[in-house]
């Protein structure tokens, strides 16, 4: 090892103590969530996650509607955010003239700088009326017979929640996809062009090369959407029901915690809410780990062309917008 001389051990002792603290914090959060939900775990077991009734008054707690709402809204968000985010990444790496690339990418990433509460405010007063208008139009057509478009057009509901989540997730998908595309060796695209590929065909080759990383970017977006609280709480309608309809007011895991935690009376109620938090914690942990693995594999994976192309910047730990 270098730098042995003059090492009094003090630095290692002091900083490692703090380092241990940070690691212990993660464990403490997990344990505290487990401890805080023990009554609910003991009483309901797995049936907590299959029960459809959420009735604090009678002490009946089934979390299925919240799981449903969270998955539904997150997947809906990704359905929009994945193509849009990748599209932005492609546009700002391959299409637009170089001097516009950074400013455009910066603008798109500004979406990540807007606080969740501001999205919610805008959602209530701007997005929801627009969505309600849209829903009214759709429910006058025969489309209303489909389960997807059934029910009255409230505006507040799954569609608004999915759209606002999509907006919030786009910058994460786009900034990571952008870095993945930049990490694709230049030779990859040059080879495509040399074979007579059109611009899109060359881009497709690059996208194909970086597909694992792009998938990682989408996973990352999913992790974000999954735990997002305020904006969803404000527009999803807060009604615990299992409905396939985009128009129906529904509920999400994070939203029920935000709404009911400070007013929860009784230990069982509090423990039930904490158990929902515990599952949020575990799922986001798994999703983030998966996305990190996927993004890393693009950089470490085999098939990297060593052709004197300068090493791409390493991909930072996935916080879009903040580098801005």
């Amino acid at each position: 090892m270098r730098r042995r001389g003059g090492d009094d051990g003090g630095l290692e002792l002091g900083t490692s103590a703090v380092a241990v603290l940070v690691v212990a914090l993660v464990a403490a959060i997990g344990l505290e969530l487990l401890h805080g939900s023990r009554l609910s775990i003991a009483k309901f077991g797995w049936s907590f996650w299959t029960g459809r009734d959420w009735d604090p008054v009678s002490g009946e707690f089934g979390a299925l509607p919240f799981i449903w709402g969270t998955f539904y809204s997150s997947l809906l968000a990704l359905l929009v955010a994945a193509p849009v985010g990748v599209g932005i990444a492609v546009f700002t790496t391959d299409v637009v003239p170089p001097r516009f690339r950074r400013p455009l990418a910066f603008l798109a990433e500004l979406l990540a700088a807007v606080p969740s509460i501001v999205y919610g405010l805008w959602g209530i007063f701007v997005l929801v009326p627009v969505v309600r208008g849209l829903e009214t139009v759709v429910s006058r057509t025969p489309l209303r017979k489909l389960p997807l478009f059934s029910g009255p057009p409230y505006g507040l509901g799954m569609l608004s929640a999915g759209l606002i989540l999509a907006l919030m997730v786009i910058p994460y998908v786009s900034s990571v996809s952008r870095e993945v595309l930049q990490a694709v060796p230049v030779a990859q695209r040059e080879a495509a062009y040399a074979l007579g590929a059109t611009r899109w065909e060359a881009i497709r080759a690059a996208l194909h090369y970086g597909r694992t990383g792009i998938l990682g970017a989408v996973f990352l977006g999913f992790g974000r959407a999954f735990g997002e609280t305020m904006a969803v709480t404000m527009v999803i309608g807060n009604n615990p029901q299992l409905s396939a309809s985009l128009f129906a007011p529904q509920y999400s895991m994070a939203a029920v915690i935000a709404n009911e935690f400070s007013e929860a009376t009784g230990d069982l109620y509090l423990h039930a809410l904490t158990e929902i938090g515990l599952v949020l914690f575990v799922i986001t942990l798994l999703v983030n780990a998966a996305s990190r693995l996927l993004i890393w594999s693009v950089q470490r994976g085999p098939g990297r062309v060593s052709d004197g192309v300068p090493a791409p910047e390493t991909i930072p730990p996935a916080r879009a917008g903040e580098a801005a």
């Binding site: 730098r3 009094d8 290692e12 940070v22 914090l25 505290e32 059109t198 899109w200």
Partner: protein
């Protein structure tokens, strides 16, 4: 089928897909513009001097402001920084100076995990560890929640910035007989300071907009509170409670609050960006 037709089709597909990518940019930028326009238009028309100097009026009465919420947010951010900055810097310093150790990778992993935890879950943790033992909502509880969100950001930038400090500086210090501790605190950290400061500002900009972890930690307060063991108002929670209220006057105040919040966050981010620029110039890029 002539080859010319085939090529035309490929070019057409290429143009269409390029157009679709341009459309994607529009899909993101139009809502962004809408958000900014609404915040500025509605915010400016509702903003007045009272907003910065008065307390909230009882529900139903017009007027009043968010003075206590602005002060409360500042208090929460300051308290959180007091905890998170030293912890984050020391943890980051460890990871950078002792790369390759098992604990260093564990810290990186822990920071990534902390970074990804939904903020509402951090709120539950702070509730269980601070609010319950103290038997009341308090600024401390809110600050703990915010600090937990700040630590990974500060640790990560510190690590990156310390790694940028040239090895020669450390060797020079060692050659003069300094201990490793002295080298770290008198040479390495000062050299990395501007970058670390940028990271701290970015972290502040991020936690300033947080609402979910404060809902049941610092809670809310309609009055001034100088103590840190009492419920404390914050700009974000106040915007939330006004936004979901049925009163037009409160909605106006919510927009004004959103404008103030966004301007503050942009100002801090801009400051961070200026630091980064200066750093890049100093590094000769």
């Amino acid at each position: 089928m002539t080859p010319g037709w085939h090529l035309r089709r490929r070019k057409l597909v290429s143009a269409a897909m390029t157009g679709a990518c341009a459309l994607a940019v529009l899909v993101a930028l139009v809502p962004l513009a809408s958000i900014l326009v609404f915040i500025v238009a509605r915010g400016l028309s509702s903003l007045d001097w009272d907003f910065f100097t008065k307390l909230p009026k009882p529900t139903g009465e017009a007027g009043g402001g968010m003075a206590n919420a602005i002060a409360g947010s500042a208090k929460l951010i300051l308290l959180a920084s007091l905890v998170a900055v030293p912890v984050g810097v020391l943890a980051g310093l460890y990871v950078a100076e002792y790369r390759g150790r098992r604990l260093a990778s564990a810290v990186r992993f822990a920071a990534d995990v902390l970074n990804g935890i939904p903020s509402i879950v951090v709120g539950i943790f702070a509730y269980g560890t601070v609010v319950l033992p103290m038997h009341r909502f308090s600024a401390i509880a809110g600050a703990v929640a915010l600090a937990i969100m700040m630590v990974p950001l500060v640790a990560r930038t510190t690590e990156e910035m310390v790694l940028l400090v040239p090895e020669m500086l450390r060797e020079g210090g060692m050659a003069l007989g300094a201990t490793r501790t002295q080298v770290a605190f008198s040479l390495v950290l000062p050299a990395a300071l501007p970058g670390i400061l940028t990271g701290v500002l970015v972290a502040v900009a991020r936690i300033a907009g947080e609402t979910a972890p404060l809902l049941f930690t610092s809670f809310n307060n309609q009055f001034w509170s100088s103590r840190i063991d009492q419920p404390t108002a914050s700009l974000t929670v106040q915007i939330y409670s006004y936004a979901i209220s049925p009163y037009d006057d409160l909605h106006r105040q919510a927009w004004a609050g959103a404008l103030v919040l966004v301007v503050l966050i942009l100002a801090v981010s801009l400051l961070a960006r200026l630091f980064t620029r200066r750093l890049e110039r100093m590094a000769g890029r």
